[in-house]
C-alpha cells in the first residue's frame, strides 16, 4: 500500500477505546497522523481544528449520533472522506450514511487490511477530486486571461481606426482633412488587416489544438518548403539588410505531414529571424538528415533572447519587449503556432540563444517512411506538381 507524500491527518471518532487504539496504531504505521476522539462533540471539534483528509466515524455513540457527525463533517468540508464503522451493519444504515455524506462502510469487526484498503481508496478519490477542482479553477483563469488578452489585442487597432474616423469627421471642411484623408484611409486599412491577422492566427492555433484543421499526411520535402519561404522573403530581408542562406544536404529531406502546416511552421521561424535581426546580419537555414530524423535549424545573428524569456517563448500570451526598440509588428502567436504544429507531428522544437549574438531554433521531425501499400518514389509529390524548376539551394 502506498505511503502518503506528506503526513495526511486522519481523525478517528469512536467511543470504544480498543477501536481507537488499534485504528491509531494501524494508521500511524501507514505514515498518517492519527488523532482519536471518544465522542461526536469532541470529534467535530477535532475535525474543525485538524482539517483531516479522512475521518473514521462510529455510528453508535452516546451523545451526538454517528449520522449527525457524518452530516456535520460533510457540511464543514465536503471533501473530507468519511468512513463509517459499525457493529450493526444493515443496508438501511449503509444507505442512510451515504446520504449523509459517507464515502464507504466498514462493518466491525474489521481486519487491519480492510481498514488500510478503505483508507487508501478513499484518500485516492479525494486526491483526484482536489486535482480536478484545481484544474477547473486553472481553466477558468486561463480562459479569462485569454479573453482579456485578445480583447486588448483587438481593441488597440480598433481604437486607432475609430479615432481616425472621428477626427476626420471633426475636421471635415478643413484643408488638413482633405490632405490627410487618403493617408488615413491607408492607415485604417492597415490596422483592419492587422485585426484580421490577429483573428486568423488565434483561429489557426485553436484549430491545430482542436484538430479541426484539415491536414494531409503526405510526403513533403522540407528542402523545397525552406527554399520557397526564403524566396518569398528575399525582398523583406533586403529591406532589413539581412542576408539569407540555405545550407541543406544533397538529398531530399522528407517528412510525412501537411505542406501548409510545414510552411507555416518554418515561415514563422524565418520571419522572426528577419524581424529580430541586426542590420547587416545573416540568417542561415541548415538541414541535416540523420537516422530516421530530419533536423532543420534557423540560425540568426540577431538580438538574442535573454535567459529568463526562453521558457516563455512558445507561450501564446508572451511577447519579448525590447527596452530600446519599438514594438515589432505581429500577433506574437508565431512561435506558439509553430510549436503546436511540431508537437502534432511528434517532433520537437528547441531554442539556443545568446544576447546580442543571435538565436538558433532547432526543429526535429521524424523522417518520412513509406507505409505498407504506398509507393516510395524518389520524387516527392510537390516535386511532381511544382512549377518552379530552378534549384534554390544557395
Amino acid at each position: 500500500m502506498s505511503e502518503p507524500a506528506e503526513r495526511e491527518t486522519i481523525v478517528i471518532i469512536d467511543d470504544d477505546y480498543a477501536i481507537r487504539l488499534s485504528c491509531k496504531k494501524i494508521l500511524s504505521k501507514m505514515g498518517f497522523r492519527a488523532e482519536t476522539f471518544e465522542d461526536g462533540a469532541q470529534g467535530l471539534e477535532g475535525v474543525a481544528r485538524l482539517k483531516p483528509g479522512l475521518a473514521v466515524v462510529d455510528l453508535k455513540m452516546p451523545g451526538i449520533s454517528g449520522m449527525e457527525v457524518i452530516a456535520r463533517v460533510h457540511e464543514m468540508d465536503p471533501e473530507i472522506v468519511v468512513v463509517v464503522i459499525t457493529g450493526y451493519p444493515t443496508i438501511d444504515t449503509a444507505v442512510a450514511a451515504m446520504k449523509c455524506g459517507a464515502y464507504d462502510f466498514l462493518p466491525k469487526p474489521f481486519s487491519p487490511d480492510e481498514l488500510r484498503l478503505i483508507v487508501n481508496r478513499g484518500l485516492e478519490r479525494r486526491r483526484l477530486a482536489i486535482e480536478s477542482r484545481r484544474a477547473e479553477v486553472e481553466r477558468a483563469l486561463l480562459k479569462r486571461r485569454f479573453v482579456t488578452f485578445v480583447s486588448h489585442q483587438l481593441q488597440t487597432p480598433l481604437v486607432a481606426i475609430h479615432q481616425y474616423l472621428s477626427v476626420l469627421k471633426n475636421l471635415e471642411h478643413t484643408e488638413d482633412a482633405a490632405a490627410k484623408r487618403q493617408q488615413w484611409f491607408d492607415r485604417c486599412l492597415a490596422r483592419t488587416g492587422e485585426m484580421q491577422t490577429i483573428i486568423k492566427d488565434w483561429l489557426t492555433l485553436a484549430r491545430i489544438e482542436g484538430d479541426t484543421l484539415s491536414r494531409q499526411r503526405v510526403k513533403v520535402d522540407l528542402k523545397r518548403i525552406v527554399a520557397d519561404i526564403l524566396a518569398t522573403y528575399e525582398e523583406m530581408a533586403g529591406q532589413n539588410s539581412v542576408s539569407l542562406e540555405a545550407r541543406m544536404p544533397e538529398d531530399a529531406c522528407c517528412v510525412r505531414g501537411d505542406r501548409n502546416c510545414l510552411s507555416v511552421l518554418f515561415d514563422n521561424l524565418i520571419v522572426n529571424a528577419i524581424k529580430y535581426n541586426k542590420p547587416g546580419g545573416k540568417i542561415t537555414v541548415s538541414g541535416e538528415a540523420r537516422e530516421g530524423e530530419i533536423e532543420i535549424s534557423v540560425i540568426d545573428t540577431g538580438v538574442g533572447i535573454p535567459e529568463r524569456y526562453r521558457q516563455l517563448l512558445f507561450d501564446e500570451f508572451f511577447r519579448v519587449e525590447d527596452e530600446g526598440n519599438k514594438k515589432t509588428a505581429g500577433t506574437g502567436l508565431g512561435l506558439a503556432i509553430s510549436k503546436k504544429i511540431v508537437s502534432e507531428m511528434g517532433g520537437s522544437i528547441a531554442v539556443e540563444s545568446e544576447v546580442d549574438v543571435g538565436s538558433t531554433f532547432r526543429v526535429r521531425l521524424l523522417a518520412y517512411r513509406a507505409q505498407a501499400g504506398e509507393e516510395d518514389n524518389n520524387r516527392s509529390p510537390d516535386e511532381l506538381t511544382s512549377e518552379k524548376d530552378t534549384d534554390r539551394g544557395r
Binding site: Q163, R187, K326, K327
Partner: protein, 142 residues
C-alpha cells in the same frame, strides 16, 4: 503675444498620436509626441508642455501610472508638477474605481481621465480647460 499652448502626447500607438496631433493642431495647439514613458518624461523636461495627454497601457499594463507618479511626486520633476495630466485608456473604469482601496491611488490619480476612443468634443473641452488653467497660472507668474 501669447504662444499656442503646447500639448505633449505620450502614447505608443503611432496612429493614435497622428490623429490626435491633427485634431489639436487644427484647434490651435502645438503638439509634441512621445512613444514611451521614458521618452515622455524626457520630453516633459525638454519642452515643459502646458498639458500632457498620457496613455495608461504602453509597454506594460501600467506604464502610464508610473509616468504620472513621477511627474506628480518625484523630486526630479518638481518643476513640472503643475502640468495637468489627461490620462487615456480603453478601460472604462477610472483609477479610483479600479483600485478603490489602494492608498497609492493618490499618487497615480491623474487630473483627468478619458476613455479611448476619445469623444472629440469632450476631449477638446478638457484640453481647453486644462490649457487655460496653465495659461493663467503662467500669466500670473510673469
Amino acid at each position: 503675444m501669447p504662444t499656442s499652448p503646447r500639448v505633449l502626447v505620450i502614447d505608443d500607438d503611432q496612429d493614435f498620436r497622428a490623429s490626435v496631433r491633427s485634431l489639436l493642431e487644427n484647434h490651435g495647439y502645438v503638439v509634441i509626441e512621445a512613444d514611451s514613458g521614458t521618452d515622455g518624461l524626457r520630453k516633459v523636461v525638454e519642452h515643459k508642455p502646458d498639458l500632457i495627454v498620457l496613455d495608461i497601457m504602453m509597454k506594460c499594463c501600467t506604464e502610464g501610472y508610473g509616468v504620472n507618479q513621477a511627474i506628480k511626486h518625484q523630486e526630479a520633476y518638481r518643476d513640472y508638477r503643475n502640468i495637468p495630466v489627461v490620462m487615456t485608456s480603453s478601460i472604462e473604469l477610472s483609477p479610483d474605481e479600479l483600485f478603490p482601496m489602494a492608498g497609492e491611488v493618490e499618487m497615480i490619480r491623474p487630473d483627468y481621465y478619458l476613455t479611448k476612443p476619445l469623444d472629440i468634443p469632450g476631449f477638446l473641452q478638457v484640453v481647453e480647460r486644462a490649457a487655460s488653467v496653465c495659461r493663467s497660472r503662467n500669466a500670473g507668474e510673469i
